[in-house]
């Protein structure tokens, strides 16, 4: 049996998505910028796709820019906002638990003379709203805070954060990395004080290499890529049409029902693990402040990579820390920022589900975790 539980890293494309992409490859091969009818056909289809993604975000289709994925969306937002609104100040704020695509962009900005405040998080990964208020200054140009954390699923209170920011300094821009949140949390960008919101295709059963950025209408932003006038002059380069079609199809499959299903499955997984495993340490919570798809758990004494490779023998795929950094030897910066002890971080496993997983799969995975844990603990008893 194969049980794929690494959905925070990548989800498997849904059949409908694969069909839509293959249809697009076959039929929508013209360049949407071409003047002929064939080009117009493709342009129209992209327009439809943009509407679908806009609906999922709760905004107007004019506010959606397609990019090559989450990293580019974050980069376009952060660099683009800063470059276009340079006069608002020199101070920028983010958190210590952001994804590397945000953190490394901030580090780069810091080495280029920007003053950066990195907000701490508590034991569960939440920032302190008080601390955010204190950090805000008249020259705060940008705040970038992720919606949901990719390692722990911690959901930051974006609505409140947006309000706080705009109340203190209405010139301060607010970017949200929504890559793990999109499709997992009921959220409407229009109802929140959010200027930009990033999302990615392969986290919602769409293809890799495609993402989008919500840019609130009226917000000034500078493109990262220069070239043609595609995407309203914000993202040059011939559109990734099959990707866009796939992303739209995947976005159309987002539903409250699926979110509720995941929530139930996660609760079931947590309960099952609790029931059969001793000395288990949950690094995140299961209430509504956490996404319905991620659990982060430590099996003390067993290095996460060993557990991961043990499980893969039975076709169970999980992640150690976050997939992007698990190949490096250094510890997860997220769990470290949460103040977890070294042995807890060293043995942390991220199990991330999707609405395509079943209870049977969870039973199988828990059974295998239990089996390997018993074996491994016997070996590493001293």
């Amino acid at each position: 049996m194969e049980v794929y539980l690494d959905n925070a890293a990548t989800t498997r494309p849904k059949d409908e998505v694969i069909e839509a992409i293959s249809w697009a490859l076959k039929n929508l091969y013209a360049n949407p910028s071409s003047l002929h009818r064939k080009g117009l056909e493709v342009e129209k289809e992209i327009k439809e796709c943009r509407k679908v993604v806009a609906r999922a975000l709760g905004c107007s289709d004019k506010e959606v820019v397609f990019t090559s994925g989450g990293t580019e969306s974050n980069s376009l937002a952060i660099n683009g906002l800063i470059m276009a609104n340079r006069r608002s100040g020199n101070h920028i704020i983010t958190t210590k638990t952001e994804h590397k695509s945000v953190l490394n962009t901030f580090e780069h900005l810091s080495s280029n003379g920007f003053e950066v405040t990195y907000l701490d998080v508590d034991r569960e990964g939440f920032i302190s709203l008080e601390r955010l208020k204190e950090s805000m200054r008249p020259d705060t140009l940008l705040v970038s805070i992720m919606h949901a954390n990719n390692e722990t699923g911690t959901i930051q209170p974006i609505m409140e954060i947006g309000e706080i920011i705009k109340k203190i300094n209405r010139n301060t821009l607010f970017h949200v990395d929504g890559i793990q949140g999109f499709g997992k949390i009921k959220f409407n960008v229009k109802q929140a004080n959010v200027d930009t919101y990033a999302l990615s295709g392969h986290k919602i059963h769409g293809p890799k290499g495609i993402g989008a950025l919500y840019i609130k209408s009226g917000v000034k932003i500078q493109p990262n890529l220069l070239g043609g006038s595609q995407e309203n002059n914000l993202r040059a380069g011939t559109e990734n049409v099959p990707g866009i079609v796939g992303l739209a199809k995947a976005a159309s499959l987002i539903s409250e029902e699926n979110i509720e299903y995941m929530r139930g499955l996660k609760a079931y997984l947590v309960k099952s693990l609790h029931e059969c495993i001793d000395d288990i340490h949950f690094n995140n919570g299961i209430n509504d402040n956490f996404t319905p798809h991620i659990i982060n758990v430590s099996f003390k004494g067993i290095r996460s990579e060993i557990m991961l490779h043990s499980l893969e023998q039975d076709g169970v795929y999980v992640s150690s820390g976050s997939a992007c950094t698990s190949r490096k030897k250094d510890f997860s910066h997220v769990l470290k920022a949460m103040g977890l002890k070294e042995d807890i971080i060293d043995s942390a496993i991220r199990i991330s589900i999707s609405y395509t997983n079943t209870r049977e799969e969870i039973d199988y995975a828990v059974d295998k975790i239990n089996k390997h844990l018993n074996d491994l603990r016997k070996i590493i008893k001293r």
Binding site: R303, E305, I306, L308, H309, S310, E312, Q313, R327, K328, K329, I379, I380, R382
Partner: protein, 392 residues
């Protein structure tokens, strides 16, 4: 008559009565290396090997044969019928190119006259060619001690003119000194050790121990990658992979913790020896070195050594880490070796390993294990791969 690649081999020519055997091996390796380049003519003549280039593929030929053990140096020469005017023309051409490409200011001509029937002697030829060059080019001078370019003229049954010498690794042709089994880990040392033994004409096979699932498939992939780099020097060879984890588990369960590493190493040696004998290898090769880690003290090496009957070659035994790193860089394994995947299992790494083990104590610990069964089970699960040269 066109471009010809001259291949020189030094040590082989000292081999007296066995010389033919060594030369033929080398000839064979050169032939194999260039066989897919339109089967150029490869032949032996006056203690050198010649490869005739076709359609300007001489640089490709050099690139192919540069790594063959036993080759001391290589030159790309123009070969033509002996005639003083033609010689002048080619010498002039060499110098012209050098002036254009490398801003050459000084030159020297060196003539080797093997054909004593040629009317002028070497010094006369040098003098005449030198005078001719000084006439032809304005800003160039003779420097007999440290010239920017040395043009060599050889007069044999045909004439050769060349000015560059590309150095090979020397040593002896592969297969002239039997076969050995290399214990290949994912680290920096073992590929270098294998290469050094190969340089002395010893063909290798390799054996790799892993501890899956305590180590990952990526670590295993890295070893295959290293083996592929080695196959640039060794050609196709066999890689045997063995999971040591069941043995490590049993040691961990039954023996003193601090002896974990040394006991595991003795098992590796014993298994390697059996595989070696099965595969017609007459020695083991390891990347061990005095004092590099706790398991490489003289006492530890002694205890490991006594696990096997066949000789164990440790070509790195006295080298400093930096010397090994330099060699690894030279043979192109370094970048792969330092990829951060674990090789041997660090989970079982004892907190305080014995650094001066006593053989009697180690043997007593081994008595606690069902050695024969463990080794047989490990041997039953060997995974064999033939490593090909799939890149140049």
């Amino acid at each position: 008559m066109g471009k010809v690649v001259i291949v020189r081999y030094g040590e082989i020519s000292l081999k007296g009565l066995n010389r033919r055997f060594f030369e033929d091996k080398l000839l064979k390796h050169v032939r194999i290396a260039v066989s897919d380049l339109g089967k150029p003519r490869v032949y032996k003549e006056h203690s050198r090997i010649y490869v005739e280039a076709q359609n300007g593929n001489e640089v490709e030929i050099v690139e192919r044969i540069r790594k063959i053990f036993g080759i001391v140096s290589i030159s790309i020469a123009n070969r033509f019928e002996v005639n003083m005017d033609t010689i002048k023309e080619y010498v002039k051409n060499e110098i012209e190119v050098a002036i254009e490409k490398r801003n050459t200011k000084t030159f020297k001509i060196e003539t080797k006259r093997a054909d004593k029937n040629f009317p002028m002697d070497s010094l006369e030829i040098n003098r005449e060619l030198g005078a001719y060059i000084l006439d032809e080019f304005e800003d160039i001078q003779v420097d007999v001690h440290n010239p920017d370019i040395l043009v060599t003229v050889e007069i044999r049954n045909s004439a050769f003119v060349y000015s560059e010498k590309i150095y090979g690794f020397g040593g002896l042709p592969l297969g002239t000194n039997g076969k050995a089994m290399l214990l290949l880990s994912g680290g920096i040392d073992s590929p270098v050790a294998g290469w050094l033994v190969g340089k002395r004409g010893v063909q290798i096979e390799a054996i790799h121990f892993h501890s899956y699932p305590f180590t990952s498939d990526r670590a295993k992939e890295k070893v295959v990658e290293l083996a592929k780099i080695l196959s640039r020097y060794f050609g196709k060879f066999r890689l045997h992979s063995i999971n040591l984890l069941p043995i490590q588990k049993e040691i961990n369960e039954k023996c003193p913790e601090e002896e974990m590493t040394i006991l595991a190493r003795r098992f590796m040696m014993k298994i390697a020896e059996r595989v070696a004998i099965n595969r017609g290898c007459e020695a083991l090769v390891t990347g061990e070195n005095i004092g590099q880690v706790a398991s490489q003290t003289i006492q530890s090496l002694n205890v490991t050594n006594s696990a096997v009957q066949i000789p164990v070659f440790r070509p790195l035994i006295t080298m400093d880490k930096m010397e090994i790193v330099d060699l690894a860089k030279k043979l192109d394994t370094y970048e792969t070796s330092i990829l951060p995947f674990e090789d041997c299992c660090t989970v079982f790494l004892p907190k305080r390993p014995v650094t001066k083990p006593r053989l009697d104590k180690i043997l007593a610990s081994e008595q606690l294990l069902d050695e024969e069964r463990l080794i047989n089970e490990a041997m039953d699960n060997i995974v064999v791969e033939d490593i090909y040269l799939d890149e140049i």
